[in-house]
Subunit: 198 residues, 4 copies
DNA sequence: TATGAATGAGGGTTCATTCAT
DNA sequence: TATGAATGAACCCTCATTCAT
């Protein structure tokens, strides 16, 4: 008996997987990873528990699919924006604004991703693997420092900090803050933090 | 119930509680709240599970003790530093540097606190109660804006962002970054983010 | 939660539930409610503990099923008998004899019901709900007093006492007394207690 | 070190035991045997848990002491009353009225005794042992039948039934029924049940 | 493709009991 | 006498997972 989890690739199969990933995202975003049990996800999707474990080998595999899905989304919607310009400051601005737009468009997806990456117990195989799919923030920062547009800072610390700031913004956005204000405030913060001191 | 969990105050009792709180902090910091089960904490402390439930009514109560302990630590080590000056920029600087110093001194404690406050399932009774004991970052920011030392920003967004940046720094510090560099970099970032634009 | 505990209705499912309810009745009747743990019931049924919690959400739900089952039994076997006549004394006699017959047919079921209703800790959701399904003894007594067949007594005290007498008879029947003798003796007692004094 | 549970017989020792037995009675009557844990009894008595297990080898032993105490009470207050007359009907009447008086005077004691004897899991060593201390109801019944004052019934069934009726009355008395009415009603019932049929 | 059934590990909690002080 | 400390068994419950159909 061929395990459909690996080789099957029918339409229904793909549709079910997509549906379950979407549901998982919603449940994880709402309840956190721990309470996002297979039972709850199945119930939320209107299917029996067995369906989930039929399409995904195990919980780890489902959560991996969630991560992959969100990264793919982000890749599609964000990367092109950042690469429309070669100007580091412009790129950085696009990255910030674009990220916030992305959060506003897919708050659950992003929240799920954060939740998964935050909880150390949540099973996932990869982590680093997908990171590269996304615009490398650090590259932008290094380029800006080299070009003299940014002041001289530790790019890894700065990248880390900016990501943390974006994460915090996500929480606010999910609770309904004004997205326009968020963009303005956050860009002002990041701009100030990177700019050459007068 | 004349359970020692509430009224006992012998030396051994206090010592055990302290030991268990410390162990809980270590386990929570390492594994996260969900995997910080009573069993694991007990094993890590080299005692049987019963010892934990003997000294703490339940898991909630143990986690509450952890929160209280860390807040007390932070209060003692941080608050006085910030209040030595009335200058908002100086206060902010003290807050940043002091926080990082505190993280360097008690990395696990701070990580545990973060973990507890982050996970929505983790049982804890208070939350807001202790918050006020600690320096209110937002007050400093508002004061600085009023005094004209800081630019005009949304203080709640700024406070949120700074806290997120500190949280991210904590992770780096726990993995062994140079604390001096961290202080320099983070203060530069925060200073730049709040400063009046040239 | 698409748990089979609620909506499933397959043959196996019903069979298991019936089996477990029957086993629960036996164990409760033998050991009392407190010692009728899920473990013991499962062991007695020859299944693992998980099977029980799979088919019944929790212990309360299992005990509720027991209560419902016994009430349904009693309803079917007893109610019709009592209502075949309108004569209060005849009704009362049918109630006594019928109850004892029922006890003889289902001694464990009745013992379990008694045990559940007696223990205040035992979880059960309903209690009063089903009471009405069964013949209301007190109504018969009031009717008999009004019609002049019974002497003038407090009907609630009398009903309470008769029920207690039946409960005591149940214990004897379970230990193997002669059912014919029980019927004769108990009816003589109740008849004498309610009859008009010569 | 001499275990005080067995041989010690100081004043304090006896006083403590009495106090604990009294408390146990109150707790058992209120909460039932299962919830009458050592902790709760100790708390209710205002002592630590250790005190209880110091004075009583184990829970069984404490419950045994409760049983013995109540039997002794009943013996003192009830037996003499019954034996003031040789007339079986008078004796029976004294037994009924006297029992109800006793229940009214010591409702908790009697309720505790019932609770202990009812629950099969409750640890107790004796049961039958003490029964003889109390007036043997069955003897009265047999005597009355022989003397022709009572009709011809199975004395063990009748005794059992009367005891059950008294138990039911105890519950009502504990919830505050009129004791005078109870005496009247119950004696009428028992009298009717035993009397020669007109 | 789907699912009902079963399993067993593990979690938190309560409690009687033992023991050293 | 008294008690604080510790222990371990047992409880109910949740869940991920496996398997036969």
């Amino acid at each position: 008996m061929p395990s459909p989890r690996t080789d099957n690739d029918t339409f229904i199969h793909r549709a079910r997987r997509t549906q379950l990933v979407d549901t998982a995202i919603a449940v994880i975003a709402d309840l956190g990873t721990d309470r996002a049990t297979i039972s709850r996800i199945a119930a939320h999707a209107g299917v029996t528990r067995g369906v989930v474990t039929y399409h995904f080998r195990d919980r780890t595999s489902l959560f991996d699919a969630v991560v992959a899905h969100v990264y793919e989304l982000a890749h599609r919607e964000l990367d092109t924006r950042v690469h429309t310009t070669n100007d580091p400051r412009e790129s950085l601005r696009e990255f910030i604004i674009g990220s916030l737009d992305f959060y506003a468009d897919h708050p659950a997806a992003m929240a799920a991703l954060s939740a998964i990456y935050r909880s150390p117990d949540t099973p996932r195989s990869d982590r680093a693997e997908h990171r590269s799919e996304i615009t490398d923030l650090q590259d932008i920062l290094v380029a800006g420092t080299k070009s003299g547009q940014f002041r001289d800072f530790d790019p890894s610390v700065m990248a880390d900090t900016i990501r943390a700031a974006l994460d915090a913004a996500l929480v606010r956005i999910r609770s309904g803050t004004d997205i326009v204000g968020e963009k303005r405030e956050l860009w002002a913060i990041v701009d100030g933090a990177t700019r050459i001191t007068g």
